[in-house]
Subunit: 320 residues, 2 copies
């Protein structure tokens, strides 16, 4: 066996529990969604120095790499089936880093019932680069799109907004975090798998929030050919984020635009709101009604309690 | 629109012709294999400075990135359905590089009827890094594995062996290439999609040759709990490779071990050989019977016309 095959057999084979992964001993995997179901596909990556700090613990990096993809599956209404992992390791990587990475990945693959199906392991002269392609299933034709929002629909978000953006500032030493909550939200997203069914049953449009609430809502509105009015006071904040904001009200911008929330943003018609809220409660995921879809082709307005629209310096994260 | 979304809309949206790609305007794609079919999954990547030269033309890099994955689908007996593209671009990349890349990718997506389904575009402090996840379909349960070879089966390869390995030496300035054939074989693999049906109908085991005939046959034999005896004189060479070898007989090692052939290696039971050869001829793909599967757990032997086993310094490519 080559060193490459040995690493794969030692660290990744135990994660390949789907029979169609053939124990990672073949060149490809074979899967099928249940009859009458579609397969939902998503790929998203993490690069050291861009999406995570090179000294972040490997176990958390692995879990985040999988979770950012699972978050998309949940927002589309899908249930996880499995994933492919592509990883490029820098020269001189430490095998204990890879062992920790595989341990974290295996923990979440098990926890989310999303086994490893296959992958590719390379050496790179650059930074550690990880791409996950995740696959989910849902009844055929029921994927919840960005483009279905209608004027008058209520705008919902799950969980709390802005924690990860503040956590990143803390990680950079720009803010304090007495509770540790904000950094933990930055390090390890909580994909809202439990909400997938309620989203599929009731939402007219949905996406996960990865590039910030303001920017992602603007994308949803553009795809739906609408705009939105959001009441900033109704955007749900964790206690830690509310404390930070009370000390520096300029933090409202990173909270609303900073990204990496990995919460679900969705729109729900008025007559489905009660059912959506009830199903969300049954799924034990908090959801908050933060505003309405309105006519227009301008970016959503974020309104203060006085009805004044906030303006942002950097409305959304972009790589270029 | 962010600069990232604009690049995607300008260069990649035209490639997303599958209805389940939603014009790359959503967060995920939705597909389904035909009823009674499996989906075959494969991911493989190219990194600048590792798998290609940073000054290689972008169009060819894109086509190779897709083709190395299609080659695996063909060897497993599958027909292409679509692919995901993850690409990390270095700071200061030139937009005309991306335009050329997308042009090449679109050409092959069209030619192989394998549309783009979605992807992820990032910025990296490292080299250009490209991962493709390709999806194919075949009747449920018929994926051709590595592990099915039986003692007495004939060992077949498609096309010619060693061209790309010699092409890489030429690209490095270590060899001459009067015809240009060898470098073109290194730059642009020809995945044997036309052979997929014949492989699925007749092969007991199959894989594509990416890490060299010797190493990949060793993997197939190990997975099948067998060994093999190969007659080196029967390994098919192009005229250009034969010319190079006649000038330097030490080149037999890179020819047999160098990799990137992207030909199909498969094993066929004696009573299926005639049918396999006939179906291959109908598909206009040349195949060569180069030896037999034998009992044992040692690496395959490559035998000279005098019956002497060759020994190799580096039997197979490994990243680590």
């Amino acid at each position: 066996m080559s060193a490459e095959d040995e690493l794969i057999a030692r660290y990744f084979k135990p994660l390949a529990k789907h029979p169609g992964a053939f124990g990672l001993a073949d060149d490809a995997a074979a899967i099928a969604p249940p009859q009458g179901h579609d397969l939902v596909l998503k790929t998203d990556g993490l690069i050291a120095g861009v999406h995570f700090f090179p000294d972040d613990p490997a176990e958390g990096v692995a879990r985040k790499a999988l979770r950012v993809n699972l978050s998309d599956l949940a927002a589309k209404g899908a249930r996880p089936l499995g994933f492919l992992l592509s990883i490029a390791l820098p020269k001189g990587f430490r095998e204990d880093w890879l062992a920790d990475f595989a341990h974290g990945l295996g923990r979440d693959a098990e926890g989310y019932q999303c086994p490893l199906l296959g992958g590719d392991t390379d050496s790179t002269p650059g930074p550690t680069t990880i791409y996950v392609s995740a696959f989910g299933t849902l009844p055929a034709g029921t994927m919840v799109k960005r483009s279905g929002a209608k004027i008058g629909d209520h705008v919902f978000v799950s969980g709390t907004i802005g924690d990860a953006a503040l956590g990143l500032r803390i990680r950079k030493g720009e803010l304090d975090d007495p509770s540790g909550h904000l950094v933990s939200r930055y390090r390890l997203p909580q994909p809202r798998m439990a909400l997938a069914e309620a989203v599929r049953a009731h939402a007219s449009a949905a996406m996960d929030i990865s590039d910030g609430l303001a920017g992602d809502l603007a994308k949803l509105c553009r795809a739906s050919d609408t705009s939105a009015d959001i009441e900033v006071a109704r955007v749900p904040l964790s206690d830690a984020a509310a404390d930070a904001l009370s000390g520096d009200c300029d933090l409202i911008e990173p909270i609303l635009t900073g990204g990496e929330d990995y919460e679900i943003l969705c729109t729900v018609a008025s007559d489905r709101v009660a059912a959506f809220e009830a199903d969300s409660a049954r799924a034990s995921v908090s959801v908050s009604d933060i505003g309405r879809i309105v006519a227009g082709n301008t970016p959503p307005r974020f309104l203060s309690t006085e009805g004044k629209a906030l303006s942002f310096l950097h409305p959304s994260y972009s790589h270029f």
